[in-house]
Symmetry: C2
Subunit: 304 residues, 2 copies
């Protein structure tokens, strides 16, 4: 099934307590695409500036990313600079340069309008709506957002949510969106806004799925050496949505397996800077870790 | 199998964003005993003051707690006063009055020395050692501790750890004890100090078990209305250790089921103030929720 992602392609500068990298490949659409192409071709819609290194273009193309929707605009590429706290979960943003991303206007070519699986990464909800208006009849729309849009573009965001099948947000965003810290209460309210399926990401605690099958908790696979958490959420989304596109199933069982696949993909993401871990990651490694995640939570029936 | 707990019996004053209670029954040994007696009789060793309400004595006795080891000393009962932050996870201690607990010296009567399962709640490691010297040949010793003893009584604590089968601590304590934030690295170091099994409690993220069976993650059962988190950790311990005493098994499989049982017990604890939820809780309710915890993490094999 055809898979479309609309989001950012960026150059990230990342500091961790141990190490740092400057101007490495980043952005939601980059992570999503690098992950998804492990099992599905991807159509990417994004914008980069004149300074965007050709090697990244080559990397993405060689992975099977359809880059005909990647605009190259006058100016510099979107840049993000951040520093991780010692717990490797919390982080502070040191600098955000929107650059060409500021005037990003996602235009889908006629060949992209039949896309069946659509992921709207974290971009302005007006742009998310515009993409939805351009796709003909998607089988599944998944979407991310952030505190900025929840606070400042709520009405537009609500229009997006009404047209979305799966919303992926973190626990703080769920609270901001609903006024409830309690995840069960927040989830019930979000699902009334439109998305029948809600994924609440909780960092190293894992991610929860709320759907007609009830609640499912995909733990985060414990990693001995976390190098760089950047992109873990977008990698999770890339894993989850590409898995659903691959299986062509949307049952509660498939959704749970997609959550596990996404969680495992996220656990590989943090093992290296940028999306470097995906340069060598194999399907077999992913499947082995999916089984290990099963072992992590397996227990026999409790009786007395 | 005979089960012994040595710890605190206290009067707690608790503030939450919604409500408050003053001078209600608390303390590690109270929670542990109230939980354990759901399935096993318990021998309790602790101290209270002259002011300790008779109704609590009656409550514990009627549940099947053997109170012959409960000393009543001159002075006031140990008191703790705390306030929970809006996330209902973080909390600040407003006041601690050790009172009679300051000169607590756990003396085991001859009838207690054959205790087979022993839980050393969070008390001074010198007292934990003293208890270990008084029990003849325990089949299993589990133990809790806190940042104060890790920082200030490390040498004594290490003597305790060398004689303990299961250590239960939270993630911050594991970091303090080993210098590693990473749970896998911290766990490997703690297990070298003595305890073959380590439980790291992570609040609403659940608890992890590290033993010869590998790593097991018991998620926290999601609760719609958290009333008071006080005692959840001691309730977890009470559930886990009493389950092991009940099954008479110490296999990795039994340990995992004990973790699930403990996690579910902890999820009931937070549904009311003090240990009030245990006044009505039935074994059937616990078993139903253990099955629900299985459903929460159940997924079919991920294939591609």
């Amino acid at each position: 099934m055809s898979l479309l992602v609309v989001g950012s392609v960026a150059l990230d500068s990342v500091e961790t307590p141990q190490d740092r990298r400057d101007d490495v490949l980043g952005g939601s659409a980059s992570f999503f695409s690098a992950v998804a192409t492990l099992i599905r071709p991807v159509r990417l819609v994004a914008v980069v500036g004149q300074d965007f290194p050709e090697e990244h273009i080559t990397f993405l193309r060689e992975r099977g990313v359809d880059l005909s929707g990647l605009q190259r605009a006058e100016g510099r590429t979107f840049r993000w600079k951040g520093r991780y706290l010692p717990d490797m979960v919390g982080r502070e943003t040191l600098e955000t340069q929107l650059n060409v991303f500021e005037s990003f206007d996602p235009k889908l070519s006629p060949g992209y309008r039949d896309s069946e699986f659509v992921f709207l990464a974290n971009i302005h909800p007006v742009l998310q709506l515009s993409v939805l208006d351009q796709v003909a009849k998607p089988a599944l729309v998944a979407c991310d957002t952030m505190n900025l849009w929840i606070n400042e573009e709520r009405a537009t965001l609500e229009q997006v949510l009404a047209r979305v099948d799966i919303l992926l947000i973190n626990d703080e965003e769920a609270q901001l969106l609903t006024g409830h810290r309690n995840l069960l209460k927040a989830a019930a309210l979000v699902r009334k806004m439109g998305p029948g399926r809600l994924v609440i990401k909780r960092g190293d605690a894992g991610a929860l799925l709320f759907d007609e099958g009830g609640v499912f908790w995909a733990p985060a696979f414990p990693i001995e050496s976390v190098v760089d958490p950047t992109g873990a959420g977008d990698s999770f989304a890339g894993g989850m949505v590409s898995y659903l596109a691959h299986t062509r199933e949307q049952t509660p069982s498939a959704l749970r397996r997609a959550m596990v696949y996404g969680s495992v993909i996220g656990s590989f993401c943090v093992e290296d800077f940028s999306l470097d871990r995906f340069r060598t990651l194999t399907k077999d490694e992913v499947l082995v870790r999916c089984r290990a995640l099963g072992d992590l939570v397996r227990f026999e029936e409790v009786t007395l």
